[in-house]
Symmetry: C2
Subunit: 333 residues, 2 copies
Amino acid sequence: MSSQPEPGAEPGSGRPDVLVHRLPSFALPFLALLCDHFTVLDPCTDSPDEPAHAFLARRAGLTRALVCVGPIPLPADTLRLLPSLRLVVATTTGVDKIDLRECRQRGIAVTNAGTTFAEDVADYAVALLLDVLRRMSTADRYVREGSWLKNGDHPLGFKLRGKQVGIVGLGNIGSHVAKRLQPFGCDIAYNSRSKKPSFPYRYHASVHDLAANSDVLILCCTLTEETRHVIDREVMTVLEDRGVIINVGRGGLIDEKELVQFLMRGELGGAGLDVFEDEPNMPKELLGLDNVVLSPHSAALTPESFEALGELTVSNLKAFFSNQPLSCLVQGE
Amino acid sequence: MSSQPEPGAEPGSGRPDVLVHRLPSFALPFLALLCDHFTVLDPCTDSPDEPAHAFLARRAGLTRALVCVGPIPLPADTLRLLPSLRLVVATTTGVDKIDLRECRQRGIAVTNAGTTFAEDVADYAVALLLDVLRRMSTADRYVREGSWLKNGDHPLGFKLRGKQVGIVGLGNIGSHVAKRLQPFGCDIAYNSRSKKPSFPYRYHASVHDLAANSDVLILCCTLTEETRHVIDREVMTVLEDRGVIINVGRGGLIDEKELVQFLMRGELGGAGLDVFEDEPNMPKELLGLDNVVLSPHSAALTPESFEALGELTVSNLKAFFSNQPLSCLVQGE
């Protein structure tokens, strides 16, 4: 009945330990798949009443691999409770909440979700843009509250054809966004660290310059020290009062306090926001604005992408325990 | 100071009469442009307290051209009050509310909005599909009512890639929808009166057959005697419980009572509806459903498309009064 021990199994156990690092509210959608192959340690379910650090100190001293679920912080303090750790498998594309410097110093490899979510996020960015420009979510509220019957026509939205769309970050997500927007007749330009000659779109060396030539900015880049608050007061000013900002990257890309002021004063046309600086909190003022579409960090989330993510995670953990090469490496050991 | 009379002007006046036929709640967005060229008769503003038929009988006996604004009925009874009428310029693409038989018998030419709205409607169809599949409008409501903070994650939507999308009516709008959905990785098929070999998509000779092979149906056809309730109980049954219906055509294409039942019983996955059988009324049950996106017949409406429509309308009226050929002729004299 006993199966062959997995390669890399801890002595005395059939399967290697894998620590799941998550917020209690954030379930791992492919937990069953993980349990098929590994002994899963999960402080949230194994010992919900014990402080996480106590559980880690007591139980995870020999743990060599950790799955970091969703956008939960993984700071140096937590990493120091895991002296044997050699691999962090992030289930997200962005790894800005993981202390990469500590990992580098400790020789801990870090992998991310790679391109698993790129198409879904790109779809969502286009959906947010359509929603803001054509006022779908406000129209749906308008109909549901009976205003169509009572007050007649809903205010008009705007046409997509001819809109100058500036994409900030022409990576996996940004390039999918561009490809999707072309048949709508949008005119695409972009900013990225360097010009990408394989794409036919106009390049701007600065976000400010891109914004000055755009009706719409779509944020698809990662959050780093350099990109934090890349959308600041100056960028919003040059976008002007018809300008629209779509954010499917990270909340920290935008100076959120300034954004709220610009939207409330009508100095920006609208925004479609899937991410916020302090999720799930957000500035209360946003909740009352009709020129904003709000979304609970859902761009990447479809059952189909979770399935692909489960396969990638298990395959990377198996590779690690068999000393095989890792996929989607953000930084090596 | 007096300008040259327009060709075709009524005797004694500088400009030919044009009758505006509209609902009081439905303003003509390019009225000023019309007034630049014609003497506009508008019962709603010229004589708001008089019954429309009395105004027409009294004032419009010599009127040769009528602009039919939005989806207002133009029945034989009304047409009979206008013995000199020779042209109906519809501002819509669909002319199902105009008595075309009476027009034909009387030798009244009818023009429509042609392709003016095709791209905006196609954009909106894609927006509705993205909204239903990725649950944007419900997500926006979820965030605004504080549920993200209180209850955590919003239910997942579905991926676009790989979805079998069936387009009912591959005309101006349908073909624009298809072109837009290709980069999302959707697999396109269609039904229309006849196969269109210039398009690379799979053809199904019946809507029932198309539905049986589709995850999504997008209704882009005109409403005629043949297409009324083309989406009936049988079609909804073969779409199955994950199936989605998007309607940017006319409400009468769907058996709305059946649709409500299917949606409430969870026997359809969802619907995105811009049009309804008895606008602006709709079945109350729809207002409470979360798998439905509701829109107040807005697909065609952007300031940019209204501007183009104004130009088309004036150009057709000028052509008529100069005995020049008409554009967008639905049926000739």
